[in-house]
């Protein structure tokens, strides 16, 4: 069995922890590990660490483990944990902040989820609105599953639910500037 020097781990992760807490507005020390979050989490069955364990990893300063976990990618932001938490810990927000950090560090264990997310925002930046058909086509091609859900396409198309032509807004420039300024801002809340 491996031993872990917790004092050293905590000291080494201080800057990372501070950053994540600032970004999310959550103080990880507020969690007293009751586990209500994990009990109610609808995705816990598919996670490598339960939501409670993710917070515990953060409390212990285990930066690598938390940045590499799949849980932060699988969280569906359903808000059940936050709603039920007796300490009002905004766990979904914490997951988001860690996920953004993981991505910055180039750690993306769930490639498809990440790809879909990026393509979604690209579509918004380009058109001002999401172009659902374009998004799905691009996603299928880039995730190498070109025929995924293909048999549903004819019905969706005939019903007028998907269109090859995106809805573009008039003031696309305004939305593009929102993207540029938000990225320049860095995204931290204050």
């Amino acid at each position: 069995m491996d031993y872990l020097d917790l004092s050293a781990a905590l000291a080494g992760a201080e800057r990372f922890l501070h950053h994540v807490e600032q970004e999310s507005g959550v103080h990880v020390s507020e969690c007293y590990q009751c586990g209500k979050c994990s009990a109610g989490c609808p995705v816990a069955f598919a996670m490598d660490y339960t939501p409670r364990q993710v917070i515990r990893l953060l409390q212990l300063g285990m930066r690598e483990e938390v940045l590499n976990c799949r849980t932060i990618w699988l969280c569906a932001s359903c808000q059940t944990c936050y709603t039920r938490c007796p300490r009002a810990v905004d766990l979904p927000r914490l997951m988001e902040a860690v996920r953004i950090e993981a991505k910055r560090a180039g750690i993306v264990p769930e490639k498809h989820i990440n790809l879909f997310n990026d393509l979604f925002l690209k579509s918004v930046a380009k058109n001002g609105r999401v172009h659902e058909m374009g998004l799905i086509l691009q996603y299928n091609l880039l995730s190498m599953q070109p025929l995924k859900d293909a048999f549903k396409a004819p019905k969706l198309f005939l019903d007028g639910k998907i269109s090859p032509i995106p809805h573009k807004i008039k003031n696309q420039a305004a939305v593009q500037r929102i993207f540029e300024r938000s990225m320049a801002h860095g995204g931290e809340s204050r």
Binding site: L115, F116, I169, H185
Partner: protein, 299 residues
Amino acid sequence: MKYAYYPGCSLESTGIEYNISAKLVAKHLGVEMVEIDDWNCCGASAAHLTNHMLALALPARNLAIAEQQGLDVAVPCAACFNRMKHTETAVRESSATRADVCHVIEMDYRATNTTYNLLDVLVNKVGSEVIAAKVVKPLTGLKVACYYGCLLVRPPKVTQFDDPENPMTMDRLVKALGGTPVQWAYKVECCGAGHSTTKPSVAFPMLQAIYQNAQAAGADCLATACPLCFLNLDMRQAEVKSGQGGSYNLPVFYFTQLMGISMGYAPKELGMAKHFVNPMALLDAKDVLRHPTTRREEA
């Protein structure tokens, strides 16, 4: 009653029947909905996973346009509603955040207007009695599992709507329409959201649990107030096998479609031909499409 209407991207695409039925029913009830001019995507599930300022600013541009017109906002999509409420709350709580958001959107936005979800508007603001008075074809005998999902009710601090564990607004609506809302345990469980596309192995068991629970509670169908919940519940139903290896056959409706039916509109006018799970056999079996006086006698 007048609101700025924010349909959101899905209602122009995969959620088109929600848009059609929402507009029809709102007009029928005398609720004026003015579409926000040149609205943009709210960023929904993607922006907040990438950049928090982007997640606040994308909805803010729409809210600012509505604020200029002095209008509260009615939002049919649960995800858009949730993002709008997040922005509204953040801007009201912090003047620093407000300054940042205004800088990013290059517009003034003070959050003096309020965002409501369409269910709240059409049921609570209009009132069940007013709705009941408009019912010409009551949904007699139709057992409905009212499915609220996540983002209409959670987190309650942000959504400011109904009970986060056992919401009843849609249940009250179904009752007012003459139908029977069933009591069930999965009304606020997550449908898997985007995982149905990116991670079906995670989303499908979540959907299955919802179908199974609705069926066990005796429901004939599901009602939703979210285009993504609807898409998942309707389009994925054939792929999600039940425990016994068979498949489910639970028609899914937008609550606005149920309202439309009971107010005398034809299923086609409400976009019901566009569903993957055909609801016509159920509506026929319950004989709800005819005026109550000409309905088949119960055998």
